[in-house]
């Protein structure tokens, strides 16, 4: 019996050596190890063995089974690997073809820039105040020290609706509204973003509708040096820590002293280029100390408090930031333009 088992082992191992595929392997497994297989067949004869022989032959039978199983296992693994490799090969795709696009929206560049500016000032402790775009002559002009027939009104040609109601020409009326709402309390620390309107013929740098962001701070001891410090901090957060500002005396009816603010030209870093007309500086905003008459109109005593205000054009900041050639692009809403701002 032992000889028969050994012969089976030899035969089986020889057969397995030449097996070609998984199906043939399975056939051999059934043939040798299956319930009706040859090994079972041989071992069935163990009933006629003596008690001494039975464990010995049993042991041999187990050895033979283990040897055959081991080889089958090995072979099976090889066939599985080959099958997997074959499947992977068959499933190969062209990874260089484009992916399925996901539609991505975009925030309008003007709002993108405005939000960025708002966030900087929120970080500096400002809240955001808003006011109507259709304003009274009083809030838009008179309360801002621009009485009727004041020559400075020429600086801002306006769209009137009636003699007393017009489209606001700047966000400055929100200053007055904020002051009145604060009812004499300090500190006032707001920025006021919004649309404004001036009778300007549209061209590459002018638009009859545009956006401003105004800032207003009022307190018992607000100084022009604080204004400089605030603007420097803003500019460095907006454009980078290497940026500097420069104030030039100017005139606005609602501030005194007044200044225009230049910032280091971002294009050339101040060495002079086409963008800054070779001055190294770019004008970005106007500012000044709140005029006493404006404080009075807002319900504050100019002997008790001082304040500063500043205002900038969002379009101008965006034009400079992205080097956009024509302000009218902002309002044409060409999606080839808008989609360029679908980024961080």
């Amino acid at each position: 019996m032992k000889e028969r088992l050994e012969a089976l082992r030899k035969e089986a191992l020889e057969q397995l050596q030449g097996v070609a595929d998984a199906a043939a392997l399975n056939d051999l497994r059934v043939q040798y190890l299956g319930k009706k297989g040859q090994l079972t067949e041989i071992l069935r004869g163990m009933g006629g063995l003596s008690a001494e022989e039975r464990p010995i032959i049993g042991q041999v039978g187990n050895d033979v089974r283990a040897a055959i199983e081991a080889v089958i296992g090995e072979k099976q693994e090889g066939f599985d690997r080959a099958a997997t490799a074959h499947r992977l090969q068959a499933e190969t795709i062209d990874v260089t073809l484009p992916g399925k696009s996901v539609n991505s929206g975009s925030v309008h560049p003007l709002n993108k820039v405005a939000q960025e500016i708002e966030d900087i000032f929120i970080g500096m402790g400002y809240t955001i105040a808003e006011g109507p775009e259709v304003e009274t002559d009083f809030f838009n002009f008179e309360a801002l020290n621009l009485p009727k027939n004041h020559p400075a009104r020429d600086m801002q040609d306006s769209f009137y609706i009636t003699d007393e109601i017009l489209l606001r020409t700047h966000t400055s009326p929100v200053q007055i509204r904020t002051m009145k709402a604060m009812n004499g309390k300090t500190p006032v620390k707001v920025i006021c973003p919004g649309k404004v309107y001036r009778r300007d013929d549209d061209d590459a740098t002018h638009s009859f509708m545009f956006h401003q962001i105004e800032g207003l701070v009022i307190g018992p001891n607000i100084r022009m040096s604080d204004l400089k410090g605030t603007l420097l901090q803003f500019v460095q957060e907006m454009y980078g820590p290497q940026m500097q500002i420069r104030l030039r005396p100017s005139f606005f009816p609602f501030t005194e002293p007044s200044a225009e603010v230049d910032v280091t030209c971002a294009q050339c870093g101040g060495s002079g280029c086409r963008m800054c007309k070779h001055t190294g500086w770019i004008e970005i905003l106007g500012c000044g100390m709140v005029h006493p008459k404006v404080l009075e109109h807002g319900g504050y005593d100019p002997k008790e408090v001082t304040g500063f205000a500043f205002g900038m054009g969002v379009e101008r900041i965006a034009l400079l930031k992205y080097d956009i050639d024509d302000i009218r692009h902002f309002y044409a809403n060409d999606t080839k333009f808008l989609s360029q701002f679908a980024k961080l």
Partner: protein, 815 residues
């Protein structure tokens, strides 16, 4: 104001300061200089020549052959093509080797066989703005005054070795609308002394007194505070001296004749506009400053007939108006070549009056620009005397003795108090009393300090812009230098910055909409009247709010809805071949029920979106999918879900104007006040699609006010389900018109607590179920939070649902 650097040097020593350096200094000091063009555009080697003879060119009709004495000792032969050339003239001659603007080099040449040793130049060839010259000088060569010295460099003769400072003045600094004002400013900036012109005291007196010829009265005392006049006899009208003409041209003013040129010259020098009348045309020997009479008419110097209005100020003689005060003279009293006696006017007219008149008549002049901003009352008389003395010298006139004048009031000098604390407190500086005193004295402001350290500053009348201490603080700051002001941080309590609720929601809305693939547009707030009538419901019966003076019909009224703007944007994009669009805008519309506004309109914040073309463009592995109604609605659902409002919002079929009547829903919101419609979502009406050349387009517009009110960021956490759900799918056949939303509402209402969710997963229409029917397939999920549901419970609930559907909608279960 264009300031000649050379002219300015008459009043202040500018040695060591180039025009460019001066421009930078002034700009940093608050007078912005736009540019500093050189008056010499590239001329060299051009001298004054005398045309000794002029012959016709033998072979060319239009050419002349001239013999020229250019002071070189030998005559030159020059061929010239200008029609106005003639013998016995002084002209600019470009010698061989000369250079002209535009890189032109003059060489010896032969013109039609005749040798030419140079070129006779026109003003334009010398780079001069010839628009300021008489017409014949524009077309031909420049003819110089007969007394011009032969051989002299043309750069000297025409004062071209000069630069122009182009001042971009802010409205407060009208003091710099004069050479003297600029000189004061430069003196303050540089600390150098001023040399002011002294009008000659002896004005060639005659036996006559001015009062023998003319008297002056002011009737309109509100509009004119001072009027002065001089009478000048026997003037000879001729060209002004070349140096005066040069300076006028440098300033951009056209030379006319000696009288007019001198009045303009003095206006530039003093900032005081003057006017000369032909005395012979003044009736009754009297001048009255009065308001225009009803129906009064005046032909102004530009030959336009002006209908005057009663608030306009005129200068009149005994019979009629002869000038519009401060704006323009009348043709009926104009100085002409026949004029022998003149009346010279110098006055202070009210700025507002001049401004209103010049605006009303559309007449702006150098004079009105100065009067509008209030001329210096302190220079009215000195400017008159300065002009009279120049006319006496260059116009060969005799100035009669004394001035005819009327004065309503002479202003008190402005005194302003200032303290050191105020200056340093406002600026954040640590200036000393001495530094402030030095600055005030450089400005030539008289100042006295009292024992308490309070300065009393007397402001000169030329600086009408300074009325309060802050004005002086600015003067100190700008002369000290804005760069010298330190950089500090605000002192005092810290404040917390934040967005308000509506601002935060608006940002969230923007982020959801852009996250859904929409591109944000920003459109104009003004539109055409026609556009405001496209969507009646969205416009809320508002009357169009019209601009009084629109720039165009297309932008004449405030928009009453956002969608017309997005339609325009879409139409524009289609012309640019951008066919697949997903646009949105967040902005205001403007509503009012008033025909004529007496109060501010309602500004309503809104959001709108527009989808057209394909949801996705075709790719190599998928076909294009056109957008439909449910894309637009899906975006809104996402918005309301994100804003925590989904439970308040419902959609009902609606037929607002401008929308497709079968494909539009009203968006309603449940509030304490009841159910409110806050907007619409639907397909654009096919007629509108056609008008805008749009393919099928889906749009929505919603009010943001109630969204700001009801947006809810509160998150209520529910423990995760621990017991399994049981899902039952059903398909019911109902009438085709039955709203799917009504089915789900009925299911939710009848199923009770056990129903976790219900979802429509298929809608089928087709012959198999009958033409007027539709089949709606729904997935119902049942779950109990605390235990496993039994089959019986679910079956019972489900049966109740089916019964309800049958009862309410005649729904049949589809097998």
């Amino acid at each position: 104001m264009n300031v000649s650097y050379r002219w300015l040097s008459d009043y202040i020593d500018l040695s060591g300061i180039s025009a460019e350096q001066l421009a930078e200094m002034m700009t940093r000091g608050g007078i912005e200089i736009d540019s500093v063009p050189s008056r010499n555009a590239g001329v060299s080697g051009v001298v004054v020549g005398y045309v000794k003879t002029r012959e016709k060119h033998p072979d060319a009709d239009k050419l002349s052959v001239c013999t020229i004495d250019a002071g070189t000792g030998e005559d030159l032969q020059i061929v010239c093509g200008a029609a106005n050339i003639g013998a016995d003239m002084k002209v600019p001659v470009a010698m061989v080797g000369a250079k002209l603007p535009g890189g032109m080099d003059i060489k010896r040449a032969k013109l039609r066989g005749v040798e030419s040793q140079g070129m006779i130049c026109s003003a334009r060839e010398l780079g001069i703005n010839d628009k300021l010259l008489p017409k014949e000088q524009q077309e031909g060569i420049l003819i110089l005054p007969p007394d011009t010295e032969i051989g002299r460099d043309i750069l000297d003769v025409l004062a071209l070795n000069d630069s122009i400072l182009e001042l971009d003045l802010t409205p407060n600094r009208s003091d710099c609308l004069s050479m003297l004002g600029v000189a004061y400013e430069v003196a303050a900036l540089t600390g150098r002394p001023l040399k002011l012109p002294e009008p000659e005291k002896e004005l060639y007196p005659t036996q006559d007194r001015t009062s023998d010829h003319i008297s002056v009265t002011i009737s309109a005392t509100e509009q004119c505070s001072l009027y002065t006049a001089r009478y000048i006899k026997g003037v000879t009208i001729a060209a002004a001296p070349q140096w005066i003409q040069n300076r006028l041209i440098a300033a951009g003013i056209r030379p006319i004749n000696n009288i007019v040129d001198i009045t303009n010259y003095v206006m530039l020098e003093y900032g005081q506009p003057l006017h000369a009348f032909d005395a012979a045309k003044i009736s009754g020997g009297r001048i009255e400053v009065r308001l225009a009479k009803p129906g009064e008419v005046l032909v102004t110097l530009d030959d336009q007939e002006r209908k005057l209005e009663p608030q306009m100020l005129v200068i009149a003689d005994a019979e009629k108006a002869i000038a519009l005060a401060g704006v323009m003279g009348g043709a009926n009293s104009e100085v002409t070549s026949e004029t022998t006696d003149i009346v010279l006017e110098s006055a202070k007219f009210d700025g507002g009056t001049v401004r209103r008149t010049s605006r009303q008549l559309g007449l702006r002049s150098e004079a009105s620009a100065r009067f509008e901003k209030e001329v210096d009352p302190g220079r009215v008389r000195s400017a008159l005397d300065r002009a009279a003395s120049l006319i006496a010298r260059y116009g060969a006139g005799l100035v009669t003795e004394s001035v005819a004048e009327a004065e309503v009031s002479s202003p008190d000098p402005v005194k302003v108090e200032l303290t050191l604390n105020r200056v340093n407190g406002m600026l954040g500086t640590e200036l000393s009393s001495l530094e402030i005193k030095t600055i005030l004295s450089r400005l030539q402001f008289a100042a006295e300090i009292d024992r308490d350290g309070v300065w009393t500053v007397t402001v000169p009348s030329r600086r009408g812009d300074i009325t309060r201490d802050v004005d002086l603080v600015e003067e100190v700051a700008r002369l000290h230098g804005y760069d010298e002001i330190p950089t500090t941080l605000i002192e005092g309590p810290t404040t917390a910055g934040a967005l308000t609720k509506s601002q935060a929601i608006r940002r969230e809305l923007r982020s959801v909409l852009t996250g859904a693939g929409l591109q944000e547009a920003v459109c104009y707030s003004v539109t055409s009247v026609q556009r405001t009538s496209l969507f009646k419901e969205l416009s809320g019966n508002s009357k169009p709010i019209a601009l009084a003076m629109p720039m165009s019909e297309e932008r004449s009224v405030l928009r009453t809805a956002l969608l017309p703007s997005l339609l325009e944007a879409a139409a524009y994009n289609l012309t640019r071949k951008n066919n697949d669009l997903a646009l949105m805008e967040i902005g205001n519309v403007y509503h009012s029920d008033e025909e004529v506004l007496t109060r501010l309109p309602h500004e309503k914040p809104r959001a709108a979106l527009l989808l057209t073309g394909n949801r996705r463009s075709a790719g190599w592995n998928r076909s294009a999918e056109p957008v439909d109604f449910y894309d637009a609605k899906g975006i809104l659902e996402k918005v309301f879900e994100r804003l925590g409002m989904a439970g308040r919002v419902a959609y009902e079929a609606a037929r607002p104007e401008g929308f497709h009547p079968g494909r539009t829903a009203a968006i309603t919101i449940r509030t304490e006040r009841g159910t409110e419609t806050i907007g619409y979502v639907g397909q654009l009406h096919p007629e509108l699609q056609r008008d805008f050349d749009l393919a099928d387009t889906y749009v929505a517009e919603v009010e943001l006010a109630s969204i700001y009110e009801y947006a809810d960021s509160h998150i209520e956490y529910r423990t995760l389900p621990r017991y399994p759900a049981i899902e039952r799918d059903i398909a019911v056949v109902v009438d085709r018109g039955t709203a799917g939303g009504a089915l789900t509402d009925a299911i939710v209402a009848s199923a009770g607590q056990l129903l976790e969710s219900v979802n429509v997963f298929d809608v089928y229409t087709g012959e198999r179920i009958g033409a007027d029917k539709k089949s709606v397939a729904l997935a119902l999920v049942y779950r109990h939070a605390e235990r496993t549901l039994t089959d019986e419970e679910v079956t019972e609930t489900h049966a109740r649902v089916l019964a309800q559907l049958e009862q309410s909608f005649g729904a049949e279960l589809r097998k």
